[in-house]
Symmetry: C2
Subunit: 269 residues, 2 copies
């Protein structure tokens, strides 16, 4: 099954919420802090309790890399327990000259065996193309992000009156053949509404719901007008840290169920 | 000693060439391929033979990450043998929302203990600011890269007539206080000549000499007009793979000596 098929299958089942495993050793419940493989044990319980309701899992590499080799060992162990029919996203935001991007692609797609990755577009086509050679994977390229800094460059006006992020959407459509997606922040509601018709067939990974302030109802209303939604809404902190007690995994399960219910209500009203 | 002081000290000694340890298991000499810690053993011999002539060492994380945990173990071992008076660059091209960038900074500056990092500017100020909190480190932010894809977005014309990379230079000068540098590709000679007066006091990391086609003489001529050169010219493949026999480290040493001689001839003609 290709990465795109995995995404579409879950969407067909009415699942759009991607669980973000930004697992921070400082934020996991006290009873897990001092056990071996604490990050993995936390992830394992979250996965076991969310697997039937999640559309995908996004693992933010920074949260594992900050622990060095030990963190990456736990990332590996986590990936091993995620069933192969559900999309895994290596949220790595990579991008470099061709011979280096080739090595990053090897790391994310061959070593860790992620189904997909997030990429920086800044260095242009040849910085992205080594990832595009993996035809069964998905490459989510940054377009418009959810943070305040999106104003600095992403939204800058170009000579032809378009914004930089709009040019990037156009280029991605030229470059890709069924193995690209885009990252578009949930806090950018106005821009999302104005631009969604230009996304073509591109699947969209939307961060920024929850801790970052994006609104789920607005988001679903906008995407529901699309032919096929091809949507993954990432939620990290407000699911995995919903509860800080021994009950954390059940609380995550309930929170995800609530989010799914909100989505269904809007889609089938 | 701060990262900037390390760079300036080496420049004061007439050293401008940064040795890029893009160590590729497929390209190391045959006699090293099947020994334990082969990447580290290769790096060790390169370092021992270049340490008195190098201005810095740049380790490209992709080449270690593609080997997974084993590669990162060898990266760690390599960093341990580089003397603390010489700048190390973690060429990682990171950049994400604030709470994630904070974790990447932890990984590169605290876990691996690199003196400096390379960063993507695309996501704006708050994606860079967690790195800027490390006042003794250096953050080399991508401005104009040496690859063909630099045409796609980096050189795009903005509404005010400037190019995107020129706006990024201006923003970096606003954001930073003695702990930023920029990455500017050696293949972009015309743009370098036109823009160097706007770099202010920013140190510059220049990739693209050698395998990528940039010209060393042109580069030194342009930088020699600067008040303080604050320059690191990265050379990877044409030093470390100069020779593929058991003599590789001596060949690397000689190649670096030749490059230094070329630089001296221009500076002291």
């Amino acid at each position: 099954m290709t990465a795109l098929e995995k995404l579409e299958n879950k969407n067909d089942e009415g699942k759009f919420i991607c669980v973000g495993l930004d697992t921070d050793i400082k934020k996991i419940p006290v009873h897990l802090k001092n056990i071996p493989n604490n990050i993995f044990e936390f992830n394992k319980q979250i996965i076991e309790n969310t697997i039937d309701k999640a559309a995908a899992y996004k693992l933010n590499l920074a949260f594992y890399e900050c622990l060095g080799l030990e963190g990456l060992k736990q990332l590996e162990k986590t990936l091993e327990i995620i069933p192969t029919d559900i999309l895994t996203i290596g949220d790595a935001k990579r991008g470099d000259i061709g011979n280096t991007s080739k090595m990053y692609a090897k790391s994310i797609f061959e070593y860790f065996k992620f189904d997909s990755i997030t990429l920086h577009p800044y260095m242009g086509y040849d910085s992205v193309s080594p990832f595009l050679e993996y035809t069964d994977k998905l490459n989510f390229i940054l377009v418009l992000t959810s943070n305040k800094g999106a104003e600095d460059f992403e939204k800058i006006e170009l000579k032809n009156g378009n914004r930089l992020y709009q040019l990037i959407i156009e280029k991605i459509k030229e470059w890709c053949n069924n193995n690209c997606g885009i990252v578009f922040g949930a806090t950018q509601t106005k821009e999302l509404e104005e631009n969604i018709k230009n996304f073509g067939q591109l699947p969209v990974l939307v961060p920024g719901i929850g801790a970052q302030g994006g609104n789920l109802t607005d988001l679903i209303n906008i995407f529901s007008k699309r032919d096929k939604m091809k949507l993954l809404i990432n939620v990290s902190r407000s699911i995995i840290y919903k509860d800080n007690s021994e009950n954390f995994a059940k609380a995550a399960k309930n929170e995800l169920a609530e989010l799914n219910k909100t989505v269904s209500k809007i889609l089938f009203k």
